[in-house]
């Protein structure tokens, strides 16, 4: 069994974004999704600091730090792109105009609860940014994360033990071992890594899993 690497996870996620979708990609792993959108598919990327139509990274030496994404990295603008102020940008988010947002997470509960902003540690400096707005606002809230913590515990849980970012908001979770669809009647596995028996995935994830009708059998 070989886990999916970061690029494979991003490519797997990107495959599910349809033509014409408006998408917000979070900082870190989710940002990689942009590099894997299938050629010829037109997808419009939003960044909450006030831009639609983000293009590829600028060549070295051509960065302009008045044109950045939410991770404060220099980006470019595609023809057809636009700029707007922060209240409009978050109006797009909260007003349910975005088709997808892709976020990282510490934990996701089987009912869709999301924890990704604070470990709850007493000495941690809390920071939330736009995560809570995205969690309530996007039509599809997607999480990308490794399934297991460094200690080997599943991050897909019965109930989040970390403070919540949003309640019952996550639709789907892309991990390095499998893709999970969170539905009213349970967690459905859409896809999992080759060479791993379903029973092994079940043991690692701990929370009860079902095979989606369309799932690939291992």
């Amino acid at each position: 069994m070989k886990k999916w690497d970061r690029n494979q996870m991003a490519a797997r996620m990107a495959r599910d974004i349809p033509e014409g979708a408006y998408v917000n990609l979070g900082i870190g792993l989710p940002t990689l999704v942009a590099d894997h959108i299938p050629a010829g598919r037109e997808v419009i990327l939003h960044s909450e600091n006030g831009v639609l139509g983000i293009g590829p990274k600028p060549p070295k030496g051509e960065e302009d730090y008045d044109l950045i994404n939410a991770g404060k990295e220099a980006v470019t603008l595609l023809a057809g792109g636009s700029f707007f102020h922060h209240a409009d940008s978050f109006g797009m988010i909260r007003g349910q105009h975005l088709d997808f947002c892709v976020l990282g997470a510490f934990q996701v509960a089987i009912n869709g609860d999301l924890a990704n902003w604070h470990t709850g540690a007493a000495d941690a400096i809390p920071a939330v940014g736009g995560a809570m707005d995205l969690a309530v606002g996007a039509k599809n809230v997607i999480v990308m994360m490794e399934l297991l913590t460094k200690a080997g515990e599943s991050k897909l849980v019965e109930r989040c033990t970390y403070p919540l970012t949003g309640a019952r908001c996550v639709n789907r979770v892309y991990t390095d071992l499998a893709v999970f669809d969170l539905r009213k009647d349970g967690v459905y596995v859409l896809d999992w890594v080759e060479g791993m028996p379903f029973e092994e995935l079940q043991q690692l994830a701990v929370v009860p899993l079902k095979r989606a009708a369309e799932a690939r059998t291992a």
Partner: protein, 226 residues
């Protein structure tokens, strides 16, 4: 003749008083009014409440203001950054109060203040620690949290082009909080790259109409990149 131009950043912030609430534009360095912030450090007003998306980074701008001990409270969404050491030091020492606000709620609270809205219900943060102690209401099928506007004494923002009436345009994502902050303060001061004659900004392209702007200052040098 109306002319909102002020000769220097120092003169533009000369009446910022102790205890003032200040909206400070910018997301990272994009849209941060660097020269006005430096002038504010030099001005030395104390006990300030600063509203910004972040809590400063490195040793310049907002970080310098915090480092100089001018800030009593920060209202922001994302104070944690690798190089936010001035904030961290004072926050951990209990010398700096933090009000953490989700980014969209921060923007909307500023807009509400500028638009004369008394308060508003937002779904953001419902059921989380950031909604603790706040009034909630179920409207239709959804739960909402009541949020209050953020009024300020001053807004310090960075724009690209201005005319003497104070009409403003912005540059790319440096726009961020500028247009909404301009509406929410009693005195809005804009630092700009260029001041052009009246009529040279296409009226269709004006982002912030001059009614929201009291003072404009032209920057002396290009802002520092990251």
């Amino acid at each position: 003749m109306i002319d909102k131009t002020i000769a220097t950043a120092a003169a533009a912030v000369a009446d910022v008083h102790d205890g003032a609430t200040i909206l400070l534009g910018g997301f990272g360095t994009a849209g941060l009014p660097t020269e006005l912030t430096d002038a504010l450090v030099a001005r030395g007003a104390r006990e300030l409440t600063i509203v910004n998306n972040n809590a400063g980074n490195g040793d310049t701008g907002l970080a310098a203001l915090i480092g100089a001990g001018c800030v009593k409270k920060i209202i922001c969404s994302f104070p944690r950054q690798a190089d936010a050491w001035h904030f961290e030091k004072r926050y951990r020492a209990g010398e700096l109060e933090l009000e953490l606000v989700p980014q969209g709620t921060l923007a909307e609270r500023i807009r509400a203040a500028g638009a004369g809205v008394g308060a508003f219900f937002t779904p953001t943060a419902y059921g989380t620690d950031l909604a603790k102690g706040k009034e909630t209401r179920r409207i239709g099928e959804r739960d909402y949290v009541l949020e209050m506007p953020i009024h300020a004494d001053f807004a310090l923002i960075k724009a690209h082009r201005a005319d003497r009436w104070g009409n403003l345009t912005f540059r790319m994502t440096a726009r961020n909080f500028g247009p909404i902050m301009a509406t929410a303060a009693r005195c809005t001061i804009a630092e700009v790259d260029e001041i052009v004659p009246l009529g040279q900004i296409d009226p269709e392209s004006v982002v912030t109409p001059g009614i929201f702007v009291k003072r404009i200052v032209r920057v002396r040098h290009a802002p520092q990149s990251v």
